[in-house]
Amino acid sequence: MAGRDRLTDPPPGADRGVPDFVGRPGPSAYHRLNPLTKATLATVTAIAAVVLGGLIGPIVLVTAAVIVPAVVGRVLGRLIRTALLLALPIAVSAFLVNLFFFPGAETVLLRVGPITATAEGLGFALEILVRILAISGAVTLFYLTTRPADLVVDLERRGVSPRVGFVANASVQTVPAMVERAAQITAAQRARGMDTEGSIWRRIRGVVPIVGPVILGSIAEVEERTMALEARGFTRPGRRTLLWSPPDSGLESLARWALLAALLALIVGRVTGIWA
């Protein structure tokens, strides 16, 4: 390091390799799959649920592509809770909107003032409901079994630029940090007499003094963060050395292509009307 070389010779016992907590494998077989495989499965399942339409298709799809892996990954309980939490707002309003406002429907089930609930509406509403649950299930399965940084490292190994990886990883850490910053700013502005318990109009007036510093304060840090990154070789073109990258196998690569092919077949079939 600085000055005499002696300082940089690794002191005794420095022959420790990469510590075990870097890239620690997940707790179950499904966790230990390559992140790209899990991402492909989630995306293919979500798109297939939309393209399939109907009720039976998505339900079978969810059982095979979401429930089974969740059991293998021992995350079924959390999956159901999280997926429902994620799907709830959309599912409820989708169900109500379609039930009561399905145009051109004749068979009236229930009349509430000017609004009528119809059978066709119910059918369509159920279809949308299952579709939304399928999508949120697939996405939640991925979210529960994969560390985002692992997918980024895997993509970087495959040639994606480290800069794009940086944006993804840094964003994941920035969201909670920004929420924390907003809380501190709210306290600072309240200490200067800004009333957050008053009337709606006063609260709306409070948006700029809170959102302003959150954005401007973060932007003011961009300069120092830029310098700190460039002082650590961030601008060196080409590939980075990676401490580790998630294991992958020919079998999984095959599975990924198979999933994509199946999805393509499904879409072409659906569009050319081979099956309803």
Binding site: M194, G198, P213
Partner: protein, 270 residues
Amino acid sequence: MAELVAESLVHVYRDGGVRALDGVDLRIGPGERVALVGQNGSGKTTLVRHLNGLLRPTEGRVTVDGADATTMTVAQLASRVGLVFQDPDRQIFAGSVRAEVEFGPRNLGRSGADLRAGVAEALDAVGLAGDVGTNPYDLGQSRRKLLALASVLAMRTQVLVLDEPTTGQDARGVERVRAVIESVAAEGRSVVAISHDMRFVAETFERVVVMRAGRIVLDGPPTSVFARDGWDALSSTYLEPPLAATVGDRLSLGSTPTDETLIDALARSA
């Protein structure tokens, strides 16, 4: 004039269940200059946030001129207890220095000549009178901190609370902060400041409150807190007395917390 009183104040943070304040009794009279010292996590910031209602007590109570603080909203308390945070970037949002300083007084309903006078006076006190139209982010870090001080000073609150006012300031900046504190106290308004700068504390404040693990372990003038018998309480909070006090003790000249008191003691004993 405002009298702040904390009675057996306890505060437990929801998430960690940590007792940040473990029974604090403190009275701050009008015009008093009180320094709050102690290691990070000793409860200084938690205590200060109870004075303007940002935090509500888990047990015990805080009164402002006898009235229980919980009966007042933070906005109402803010008109009497002004709090300047440590990081200026956690509050600056306006496009110009003047607009930033006007924010506080405007929230308190002041306008017109009264508002302008308060703003001008505050900017003058911190030496930013010449930068009225400047964008705050074009000022350096140390002057942005003085801007944050001015933005609360302009509210003319009866109690002024400062969180680490001298961090990152150079010698002139510290002088300016001291001058502001002295002028505020001279008007009979009380000043409470959290600080790690022991020399600044010894020379600027007439009373030092030492905190550890959510309790007050020492409360008295600098001459007693920085005297020899106060040191064990101080050292338990990893704080070192100012050099003048240490030298005074080595030469057994009694308690000499500031340069001035040390020199006097030396002169008397020559």
